[in-house]
């Protein structure tokens, strides 16, 4: 069943939303760190995507998480942007290999994959936390939140992605 990409991604969508809103939104590590793990959806999504459909799925993912967290449209902005810049980040991380038809995650190195994940996380967190406060007088607070939350998100995402690594992808 999980070999069908549509079912697999729908399954991931639901599980990541539930994990984010029921678990990670209430983590409050050191009283302010809530990792945004749904970035894994953008990391795991198939490489050859239909860009328009991917943008719409990203929009929906953000909207659902916003609805649960009462942060209307902050996650949506981050998700739509992630969906849009993903091919650019991929070309940057995987270089010329990315343009070949037979390119998969398997024939990329671990460093390349980690850089890809890290760049996604940085884009997402920068957008989310700057828009969340949206005031220059809180500049230090924004930087603090971006830095520490990114680190924790990265650690948790690396753990989760090695836990749920799928062989035939």
């Amino acid at each position: 069943m999980l070999s069908n990409p549509i079912i697999l991604n729908a399954f991931r969508f639901i599980l990541l939303v539930l994990a984010q809103v029921l678990l990670f939104n209430h983590l409050n590590f050191l009283n302010f760190i809530n990792p945004l793990v749904y970035v894994l959806f953008f990391y795991w999504y198939p490489i050859r995507e239909n860009r328009a459909a991917f943008l719409l799925i990203g929009f929906l993912l953000g909207l659902v998480i916003d609805l649960f967290s009462d942060t209307l449209a902050l996650h949506t902005v981050a998700c739509v942007t992630l969906a849009y810049v993903r091919p650019i980040i991929m070309r940057f991380c995987f270089g010329a290999n990315f343009d070949f038809q037979n390119f998969t995650f398997k024939n990329s190195t671990r460093v390349q994959r980690m850089t890809f994940l890290l760049l996604l996380i940085i884009v997402q967190h920068t957008l989310y936390y700057s828009l969340e406060i949206l005031s220059l007088s809180h500049f230090v607070l924004i930087l603090k939140k971006i830095l520490f939350t990114s680190i924790l998100t990265f650690v948790i995402c690396v753990l989760l992605s090695s836990l749920f690594a799928i062989e035939n992808e």
Partner: protein, 271 residues
């Protein structure tokens, strides 16, 4: 014409991205200055019932602590009751301006600059926008949106929150706001310079609001200083409530509020 269509087709993902980004930015910027969206919030049926289910499971873990808190409150209320003179005027004609509705928190949040709390009572139980919400220890927030079974509460830990508060046993009042830095500290502004202020003074809700009754505890003064204009105090208040650990809450309904609002509106219209 052909070239325009070709141009649009070529950059269709960029246009789609721009369109989706525009929608979400409009929502975001609205949420900074206006009320929470009426349709997209966690009091809706789906999110409300999912949060309610998970709370049903996790609420067993802190039953002990919750029981102790309620027993402490009962003890306090009973001692008040036993020490009350039987035939005072107040006992014969109790004031019934305020109704109290108890509810439980199903989703709490305190790490973001605009925190909303979801509770398990809604318009079916008589809740409506702009009712005060308190806990046994002090003030918590104001009801923002209701669905039939759930409601969202704008926490005092919200940069949009602005509540009338005063120093206990005086009539000097100011506005209670939050600067988004610490979840256990809020700020009281607009207290004039001539007021004697001391660290440790208790802050309670003021009488200027139609939402909260007077004298609901908020917190104690932690430190204070003058603002840029040197004419008003900026006071940091340590909250009585532990905002990270909340369960049982009470919603306060002011029966006279519609009358009061109507009167205020008539006065404003007449001018």
């Amino acid at each position: 014409m052909q070239r325009i269509i070709n141009f649009i087709l070529r950059y269709r993902t960029t246009f789609l991205y721009g369109f989706l980004l525009f929608i979400s930015l409009v929502f975001t910027i609205r949420s900074h200055s206006f009320h929470q969206s009426k349709y997209f919030n966690s009091s809706r049926w789906l999110s409300g019932s999912i949060y309610n289910t998970t709370t049903g499971i996790t609420s067993y873990f802190n039953l002990n602590e919750e029981n102790k808190r309620l027993a402490d409150e009962n003890e306090k209320l009973r001692s008040l009751l036993f020490n009350q003179a039987e035939d005072t005027l107040a006992a014969q004609y109790p004031r019934t301006d305020f109704d109290v509705i108890q509810a439980k928190i199903t989703k709490n949040s305190y790490a973001s600059p605009r925190n909303y709390i979801t509770i398990n009572k809604g318009s079916k139980d008589g809740l409506a926008q702009d009712m005060g919400v308190i806990t046994t220890k002090g003030i918590l927030g104001i009801v923002e949106n209701t669905s039939s079974n759930y409601a969202t509460v704008q926490s005092i830990l919200n940069t949009k929150s602005n509540i009338n508060a005063k120093i206990k046993h005086t009539n000097y009042f100011g506005s209670l706001i939050w600067d988004a830095n610490r979840y256990d500290v809020v700020q009281l502004i607009d207290i004039p310079r001539l007021v004697p202020v001391t660290v440790g003074d208790t802050i309670v809700t003021g009488a200027m609001s139609s939402i909260f009754p007077e004298n609901i505890p908020i917190g104690v003064i932690r430190k204070y200083g003058l603002n840029e204009a040197q004419s008003f105090y900026n006071i940091d208040i340590q909250l009585f409530n532990d905002m990270a650990n909340l369960k049982q809450i009470y919603v306060i309904k002011n029966r006279n509020r519609p009358e009061l609002l109507e009167l205020e509106k008539r006065t404003a219209d007449a001018q």
